[in-house]
Amino acid sequence: MAEGGGGHSPLEQFEIKSIFPAGGHGGEVGTFAFTNSSLMMVAALVLISAFLILGMRRGALVPGRMQSLAEMSYEFIAGLISDTVGAEGRRYFPIIFTLFMFILFGNLLGMLPYSFTFTSHIIVTFALAAMVFIGVTVLAIAKHGMHFFSFFVPPGAPLAMWPLLIPIEVISYLSRPISLSVRLFANMLAGHTLLKVIAGFIGVLGVFGILPFALVVALTGLEILIAFLQAYVFAILTCLYINDALHLH
């Protein structure tokens, strides 16, 4: 999908390139190919493990810097779950924590120059959102059985309104994975494209390139904030969906 010609397209950074087997520019990418995206996913896995396990290896009573960070992330997600789901949410702590960390590290790794942002691919975010959606739906049906379908009837709505409200509710429910995945994907795509576009002006403007350069620096800060924010949003929406599944209305 690379744009032809020698010019750098702002979208070129999103291209999937095979690393093993080595693929040429725009070459075929096999199903099991280890790509730049795979590399970043593995890097995220390794960094998360290192962050959580090496950070906690001393298990000190008075935590050091890394241990504080690891504990802080733990308590952050634990607080998020107890605020949105309550005590019942403890069981879903590992999956929510994994989602948060995986997306956060994917977003942050993408901020490194010449790296790749795997969360800027709709298929990745959609797969994560679909996993949440299917998991939550299965959970709700397992907990409430057929009663689950009462979720699509707003409580207190007059019977005459049902034909209108039920389709709306069903559509809104089914659009959850789409909104969840597109939100993350679009944020990452837009942020990185914008950075690339503005960075493109730096060389062209000569001395005045300082202005887009300053803007890129500022936007990088903003992007790091968005990296956190989107991971947080994904996690909190997952919590809210789990809460819906547990309590229906």
Binding site: M1, A2, L11, F14, E15, I16, S18, E28, V29, G30, T31, F32, A33, F34, T35, S37, S38, M41, V42, A44, L45, I48, S49, L52, I53, M56, G59, A60, L61, P63, Q67, A70, E71, Y74, E75, F93, P94, I95, F97, T98, M101, F102, F118, S120, H121, I122, I123, V124, A127, L128, F185, L189
Partner: protein
């Protein structure tokens, strides 16, 4: 847009599945239990320390109360000892006072008795002298030698009123 090329989807999905599941297992099985253990241990330690501190505080308060009680007791006993000593001294002083007073009264009485005795002796010795003086005076004045018995009677008669 490279994202919309379905040719690159399978590899991403496969690697996402591998890394995400691995990440989940690492977090679920290793990372979270360790963090939870550390946090729990810290909470326990804090609770223990707080409990210990509370116990020590209570102990200190008990000891303080005991000390206060002992101090109050000591004060009370010192007060009573002081009171007793004061009472004893007062009683002793009174006793000695009364003793001295009694002794003085006795001495006064003795002195008075002695004075009375001396007075009687003096008077009786005076009587003999008076008798002689009266006998000599009557003989000289009227030339009558009065009998001893008469003189004695007359002197006694006169002196009787003065005695």
């Amino acid at each position: 847009m490279p994202q919309l090329d379905p040719a690159v989807w399978p590899t991403q999905l496969i690697w996402l599945a591998i890394t995400f599941i691995a990440c989940y297992l690492v977090i679920w099985r290793i990372a979270l239990p360790r963090i939870a253990d550390v946090l729990e241990a810290r909470q326990r330690k804090l609770d223990d320390d707080l409990k210990k501190a509370t116990a020590l505080k209570e102990e200190a308060e008990t000891i303080l109360a005991e000390y206060e009680k002992m101090r109050a007791d000591a004060q009370a006993s010192a007060h009573s000892v002081l009171q007793k000593a004061q009472d004893e001294m007062k009683a002793e002083a009174e006793r000695q006072n009364s003793e001295v007073a009694a002794k003085l009264a006795k001495q006064t009485e003795e002195a008075e008795a002695r004075i009375a005795e001396a007075k009687t002796a003096a008077l009786s010795s005076l009587e003999g002298t008076v008798n002689e003086v009266v006998a000599a005076a009557t003989e000289k004045l009227i030339g009558v030698k009065a009998g001893d018995q008469e003189i004695a009677r007359a002197v006694t008669e006169v002196m009787g009123g003065k005695r």
